[in-house]
């Protein structure tokens, strides 16, 4: 692994640019890095299970343990403070309840298939269970999926995981995203040229460590046209 962390932009650190950010933005980003909230919504058992699940939704095995991006504490904080996205599908319970139900469902599937909890099975077995949720073919806990569409739970979970992973400046380093640019500006708009303080891409072969069940690309629930995915603004 690259000692700078994963990605094709070795030596690129958005945080090095923080003196060029406006004060409000700097506070928000640094707070994210330095003040990870305590778990207050999930029970200890739920939090442990969430850790195991989120470690597969956005795996970070290739990251130095000190450089792993916290995800579960931020989902917990969102649910604890009741911060929603402004809508709820009519076939879904409120987000907090959806998480509690979904975690119970995942645990039941693990016990049904392997006789052990999700946290205790192998990574490959965990990936297999998550793939079943992704495909909307859960083999157990059907009473739970009757209360809540499994593909909606899946999208809620993945959406939250990627939101908090890619909100972190270490993830920006990984993907070569420029980060905040006020008041300084971006000046080189064309041909993907880097700013003087950005890095050029240095591509190399990259192989996902361990199991790579999650490297396949298939549509969620097998549907090419998703009706009502989680969405931010576009145009």
């Amino acid at each position: 692994m690259n000692k700078n962390g994963p990605g094709y932009y070795p030596g690129y650190h958005t945080l090095d640019q923080q003196n060029f950010w406006d004060e409000t933005t700097r506070k928000v980003v640094l707070n994210r890095v330095h003040h990870v909230p305590e778990i207050r919504f999930f029970s200890p058992g739920e939090a442990q299970l969430m850790d195991a699940v989120c470690a597969r939704i956005v795996p970070q095995d290739d990251r130095d343990p000190a450089q792993r991006i916290p995800i579960v504490p931020w989902i917990d904080e969102r649910l604890f403070t009741g911060r929603g996205d402004g809508y709820r599908f009519e076939d879904m319970p409120p987000d907090g309840e959806a998480y509690q139900l979904g975690l119970r469902g995942i645990e039941e599937i693990a016990r049904h298939l392997h006789g052990r909890g999700f946290s205790e099975i192998s990574i490959a077995e965990q990936d297999q269970i998550l793939e079943m949720l992704h495909d909307a073919r859960p083999p157990a806990a059907h009473d739970i999926w009757k209360k809540m569409a499994v593909h909606r739970f899946w999208m809620l979970l993945v959406q939250d995981c990627v939101t908090f992973y890619y909100a972190h400046p270490w993830a920006w380093d990984e993907i070569g995203f420029g980060g905040p640019a006020y008041p300084r500006a971006y000046m080189r708009l064309e041909r993907g040229e880097p700013e003087p303080w950005e890095k050029d891409e240095k591509r190399e072969e990259w192989t996902a460590p361990g199991s790579s069940l999650s490297e396949k690309f298939t549509h969620v629930a097998g549907l090419a046209e998703h009706r009502g995915g989680p969405q931010g603004g576009t145009h």
């Binding site: 980003v29 992704h134 993945v158 041909r191 989680p230 576009t234």
Partner: protein, 576 residues
């Protein structure tokens, strides 16, 4: 009329209230007493409410604008950060359902002074002349009670007030813009290249309400790419920075963090003011001689429905049952293409190039109406969510795709979905934090919509391949919300007349996107503002009649070019 004025403009830290790095609100803000009867209470200070507030204040009316969200200080409150901009949207619960449920929240709502204009991408194409009479021309939709010609002078005026930057615009009614086009970012290059190779005419560098050159106390764009997180630069127009400061300077009051819960009905089928909750949850009543609801396509019908009372048991202005009906979203499929070369789509405004080549009905396509194709440039989190649905990505697959973020470009379809009575806003049994029933949104596509979306999607995919993409995927989605309190000539078929006046109640108006009977394939913001300026001219021309009589003058007013905010005139380029 400039008194009484009570103190300096509020700022919790004693610093000036900033709108961008240079513009500040110096004016002490007027405060009206609740017992004082104001002329107009405007509910919602967004695209429509913001422009109307400014017009009425300039003409000397006593006017209060209510907004459920904060009065932003852009230096203190906004960030160059995707996840940190969550508070710009209407995040209170709403229920969404139907066969094709709409995503709400960040996708199509605003909360706070400026409303959705603080985080719009700010594409500002006009509607085409055909949009005003789709029923007559194509046998679909509903004719507007006004024509393109009625709105054209207001388009021209608002394009100067914002102002709009862009090249000569060849579609619909061709026209030019007061500010020149922007330089191209990577995604714009992709659209231009793909379209040009296919012989599709395309507009580079606008039209967008983003300054391509500095004007007065607003700097030009710095291409930082965070348009839809709120423009800290002040280059992108929002009514917060274009119209609200002038409204305050002319004696308007803004009551922010105030959630209007009811429009109150008095005697003789006339409204008397609004009931609202302040930021601490205390209930108040503001007397007003007329009320304008400008809460956009969900909160406007919700407020009217929640204001049901004896005589209007199904909601205010809802005697024909049409409040909440004919809600529309535009098809907004996003087509994502991966290129060998770097794109870096986070640079430049997400909105900077488009084509309206496919806007009008073409009988050969087998469906009515059309679509536009526009640049959209999601930042990393939005892109990851799109990949979750477009490719089903998760786990290592998600990590791998995201490591290629800088190689992807995204284009958006913007397609006209036809109005349908069953696509609607109703009241749910769930309650919000003030105890008010929340909105439920039901949405289904019709056959024409499905054909249009399929065609638009395939055409956009074709453009992406032609631009040289090595992989192309797409995500189905929707953009914008309009309708749900539509205007029309026939009181049996609409909620308001062409001036936003409700057919049922002579001193109750609507002034926002919910007025639109159809939506074209143009982003609605500019048209909402143009309608608001026209409604403003009407109310000003009518004067006291609005407050004292039920008489409805249906003659359009003369346009008032003397009511624009400062710096509107004498800047920019001569227009063609």
């Amino acid at each position: 009329m400039k008194s009484p004025i009570a103190g300096q403009f509020d700022s919790p830290n004693g610093k000036p209230h900033m709108l961008g790095p240079m513009q500040r609100i110096r004016t002490p803000m007027r405060r009206f007493a609740e017992s004082e009867e104001v002329d107009y209470a405007i509910v919602g200070v967004g695209a429509g409410g913001g422009v109307l507030l400014q017009r009425l204040a300039r003409a000397g009316f006593r006017v209060v604008g209510f907004d459920a969200g904060p009065f932003w200080d852009t230096e203190r409150d906004w960030v160059s950060d995707e996840n940190g901009s969550h508070k710009l949207y209407w995040n209170d619960e709403r229920i969404t359902g139907g066969e094709d449920p709409l995503a709400l929240g960040a996708n199509n709502s605003g909360k706070g002074v400026g409303g959705g204009t603080v985080h719009w991408a700010s594409f500002t194409p006009r509607f085409h002349p055909s949009d005003f009479q789709t029923h007559t021309l194509d046998g679909v939709g509903f004719d507007w009670p006004l024509s393109y010609g009625d709105l054209k002078p207001y388009y021209e005026l608002i394009e100067k007030e914002l102002p709009v930057s862009g090249p000569y615009f060849p579609w619909g009614d061709p026209h030019s813009y007061p500010y020149g086009p922007h330089p191209m970012g990577g995604v714009g290059d992709v659209l231009i290249r793909g379209c040009t190779r296919l012989g599709i005419d395309v507009s580079a560098g606008g039209p967008v309400a983003i300054l391509s050159g500095s004007r007065a106390d607003r700097p030009h764009c710095i291409y930082r790419g965070f348009c839809i997180q709120g423009c800290k630069v002040g280059a992108k127009a929002s009514t917060l920075i274009t119209h609200v400061p002038d409204a305050l300077a002319n004696g308007a009051e803004i009551r922010a963090d105030s959630m209007v819960s009811r429009v109150n009905l008095g005697k003789n089928r006339r409204v008397t003011g609004v009931t609202y909750f302040d930021s601490e949850g205390r209930e108040h009543f503001q007397k007003a001689r007329a009320v304008v609801v400008a809460g956009y396509a969900i909160e406007t019908p919700r407020l009217l429905l929640n204001s049901a009372c004896p005589g209007f048991n199904n909601g205010l202005a809802n005697s024909n049952g049409l409040v909440g009906r004919y809600l529309m979203a535009q098809a907004g499929n996003v087509v994502l293409g991966r290129f060998d070369q770097l794109i870096r789509m986070y640079k430049a405004p997400p909105a900077h190039a488009l084509t309206e080549h496919f806007y009008e009905t073409d009988p050969k396509r087998g469906f009515a109406r059309g679509f536009a194709v526009q640049t959209v440039s999601p930042l990393p989190i939005a892109f990851a969510k799109q990949m979750m649905t477009a490719k089903g990505a998760w786990g290592w697959g998600m990590r791998r795709i995201m490591m290629d973020y800088n190689h992807w470009a995204t284009l958006g379809v913007l397609g006209e979905i036809l109005p349908s009575a069953d696509n609607r806003v109703t009241i749910a049994k769930e309650k919000d934090q003030w105890g008010l029933p929340v909105a439920k949104v039901t949405f289904n596509l019709c056959e024409n919509d499905k054909k249009l979306i399929e065609y638009g999607k395939q055409k956009t995919i074709e453009i992406m391949w032609a631009a040289g993409a090595k992989e192309v995927v797409q995500e189905a989605r929707y953009a914008h919300l309009v309708g749900a309190s539509r205007m029309g000539r026939d009181p049996a078929q609409s909620v308001t007349d062409q001036f936003g006046r409700t057919h049922d109640i002579a001193n109750l108006f609507v002034c926002d996107g919910s007025l639109m009977p159809t939506q074209g394939s143009a982003n609605p913001g500019l048209t909402i503002m143009a309608l608001a300026a026209r409604i403003g001219d009407y109310l000003i021309a009518q004067g006291e009649t609005i407050f004292s009589s039920d008489r409805r003058e249906m003659t359009a007013p003369k346009i008032r070019r003397d009511l624009s905010p400062p710096d509107t005139w004498g800047h920019g380029m001569p227009t063609v």
